[in-house]
């Protein structure tokens, strides 16, 4: 036994390709991070930057024929979980890693009762009887504050509001008390007031259960309120990773800077919002080298080579992948 506990979730050099027009393109490149118990790590970036693909790769849920992992390793509690047999992975999903998806409207099965859907992981992973699993489902619904849980256990998803459905998703993901929770844009589809409630609930559950959380979001406001560490992704690359306050105080990668400048804030007038020029190139058209160079104001000749992710502070907690701004501390 090592004296240092293994991280709850460890991702090393994960590289994932997706297929478009019969060609495989790297959509997640060399992504590494660790999450320890009670920690929230946020993956931030625009749509198509590879955040969700990273999550699906960890869960081995890439659609076959469309996505494939070509490199790297994922481990949970020190146990390797990437590249293992499907039957083995089924025992990990829902049991040791729970996952909450973005769309509460479509992510629940419309023809199965909410109670059964929450109870289901307990049937497979904990060998509970149906009755015991359903009893536990009521407790879980209470835990995520669904009012009158006992009466609603036989209701169907369409009888719940969006916020309540997302609570159902959370209850389902936490049914088997996993150590890791992956939340893929858990609040994006919800009203702002409901977003705050769901985030508060997640934070509270994390504290009480000591969860390690991987939060995927494009919303920097959400990041600021809950994350301990942030990884900014662009074009499948992690371009900057830093502890939470650090990123906002000292954004270094041009993309991070641009992202923060594009964020509406109450302490700035709306004229100062600076949208990032251009669009994320399609995977097939990604520039060689630094993938942000086509939109970057600081672009130089050496950007045609891919910059490494280098530490920029003495403690080695703040990393940036940029030739220009990511110099040594």
């Amino acid at each position: 036994m090592s004296t240092v506990a293994a991280p709850a979730l460890s991702v090393k050099n994960l590289t994932t390709e997706i297929r478009s027009r019969d060609q495989w393109h790297q959509a997640v490149r060399d992504v590494s991070f660790d999450i320890v118990q009670r920690e929230t790590v946020a993956l931030v970036g625009e749509s198509g930057c590879g955040k969700s693909l990273t999550a699906l790769s960890i869960m081995a849920l890439l659609p076959p024929g469309v996505g494939r992992i070509v490199g790297g390793r994922v481990s949970a509690d020190g146990q390797l979980i990437s590249g293992i047999a499907d039957a083995e992975m089924e025992k990990i999903r829902g049991s040791r890693i729970g996952m909450v998806f973005q769309e509460p409207m479509t992510s629940l099965n419309p023809v199965l009762t909410v109670g059964f859907q929450i109870a289901e992981p307990l049937l497979y992973h904990r060998d509970l009887s149906r009755r015991a699993a359903l009893a536990r489902a009521v407790e879980l619904m209470d835990l995520v504050r669904i009012p009158s849980a006992a009466q609603r256990i036989n209701d169907y998803p369409h009888q719940f509001s969006g916020g309540m459905r997302q609570r159902v998703m959370i209850a389902m993901a936490l049914a088997c008390a996993p150590k890791v929770l992956i939340a893929d844009e858990p609040t994006t589809a919800l009203d702002v007031t409901i977003q705050a409630q769901v985030l508060a609930l997640l934070a509270e559950l994390q504290r009480s259960a000591g969860l390690a959380v991987l939060l995927i979001t494009h919303n920097l406001g959400v990041v600021a309120s809950v994350a301990d560490r942030v990884l900014v992704m662009y074009g499948g690359d992690v371009v900057e990773s830093a502890a939470m306050p650090d990123l906002f105080q000292r954004p270094t990668h041009p993309y991070t800077t641009a992202l923060l400048a594009a964020m509406p804030r109450s302490d700035r007038s709306s004229e100062t919002i600076a949208p990032i020029p251009g669009q994320v190139p399609a995977l097939a058209e990604m520039p060689v080298g630094c993938r942000f160079q086509s939109r970057c104001p600081l672009r130089e000749v050496r950007c045609v080579e891919r910059p490494p992710l280098r530490p920029i502070d003495a403690a080695g907690t703040h990393h940036v992948r940029c030739w220009v701004t990511g110099g040594a501390p």
Binding site: M59, L61, P63, D86, A87, E90, K91, I92, R93, G94, S95, G98, M99, F101, E103, T106, S107, L108, N109, P110, V111, L112, T113, E120, P121, Y124, H125, Y156, H158, M169, M172, A173, A175
Partner: protein
């Protein structure tokens, strides 16, 4: 539940009334004097007048129409022009045979079509997918009377596994099933074709849905993701296709009954056609219209069972 059924039946009344009216006037538009048809051109004018009187044909059209509706409301479908027996009695005597045949082929369609469609969708391009394509091609392209004759030649005459004449004569269950087998398979293949196609495309759609990903993300075994999470959702289009095709099935059961010499509604119709028994034909059109309305109500009821979003009655 009962209220729902009552309501649905109530809503069916205008449809039925329309069908009854259409049938009534269609039969009247057909040129030729029914009395002449029955008695032949050698009949004396007195006899013809007598028969017209008995059939009510000398009354004004509107009165005939009201009489006709009144009789049907009392469950009186009239009398056969050839046998002079009440059509209702003859119809009820063979109705169980037709229902038996329809249900058996429906069962074959479900038992064969659902698993085939599911397997075809799960392993696209695999053996099941290939088989599904062949079976639906056969089921949809062979007319029921052609496939029926082929089945007879092969399994009743060549191999002698099943009787050539599928009229169940004894009450023996085994004998009855043997007589039912070939006609039921003949119709069942058509049903398998429809069910397989809709199951396959429904499953392909369902398997790409978010809720399937959710199920996998919580560690539901792959087998149950398919058969519980995805298939449950496909039951809805399956019920639809069955509801729609019950009419086709009833129509094909007429042909099948003829090919296999099986007593049933089909036989009554063909006999009536051969003998120009307009009264029986008119009555049978009414019976089929009722049958289709009833299957539609049943379909709606089943929707409530398979889809919780349909307001359960």
């Amino acid at each position: 539940m009962l209220r729902f059924i009552a309501k649905r039946l109530l809503f069916a009344i205008p449809t039925l009334l329309g069908v009854l009216t259409l049938v009534f006037f269609l039969v009247r538009i057909v040129p030729g004097d029914p009395a002449l048809v029955v008695l032949g051109d050698q009949a004396s004018p007195e006899a013809l007048a007598n028969l017209r009187e008995r059939l009510g044909l000398n009354k004004p059209l509107l009165v005939q129409y009201v009489d006709y509706l009144g009789a049907i409301a009392h469950g009186d479908l009239g009398r056969s022009l050839t046998t002079n027996r009440p059509v209702m009695t003859d119809m009820l005597a063979v109705l169980p045979n037709t229902i038996e045949l329809t249900l058996a082929s429906l069962l074959i369609g479900l038992v064969g079509g659902v698993p085939l469609g599911v397997l075809a969708a799960v392993r696209r391009g695999g053996i099941a997918d290939w088989l599904a394509r062949i079976v639906s091609l056969i089921g949809l392209s062979f007319p029921a009377f052609v496939s029926g004759v082929l089945l007879l030649v092969l399994f009743a005459i060549q191999f002698r596994w099943f009787p050539v004449i599928s009229a169940p004569r004894s009450g023996d269950i085994l004998e009855r099933l043997r007589a039912l087998a070939l006609p039921a398979i003949n119709l069942g293949v058509i049903m398998i074709a429809y069910v397989t196609r809709v199951t396959r495309s429904g499953m392909l759609n369902a398997l790409s849905q978010d809720y399937v990903r959710t199920a996998r993300a919580k560690g539901v075994p792959a087998r149950l993701v398919v058969w519980r999470h995805a298939l449950r959702n496909v039951l809805i289009p399956i019920v639809t296709i069955i509801g729609l095709n019950l009419g086709v099935l009833i129509g094909n059961s007429v042909l099948t009954e003829i090919v296999f010499s099986r007593p049933g509604l089909g036989k009554i119709i063909v006999n009536a056609l051969n003998t120009r028994d307009y009264a029986t034909l008119q009555a049978m059109m009414v019976v089929f219209a009722f049958a289709i309305v009833i299957t539609n109500v049943l379909t709606d009821l089943v929707y409530g069972l398979v889809d919780p979003r349909v307001k359960t009655p």
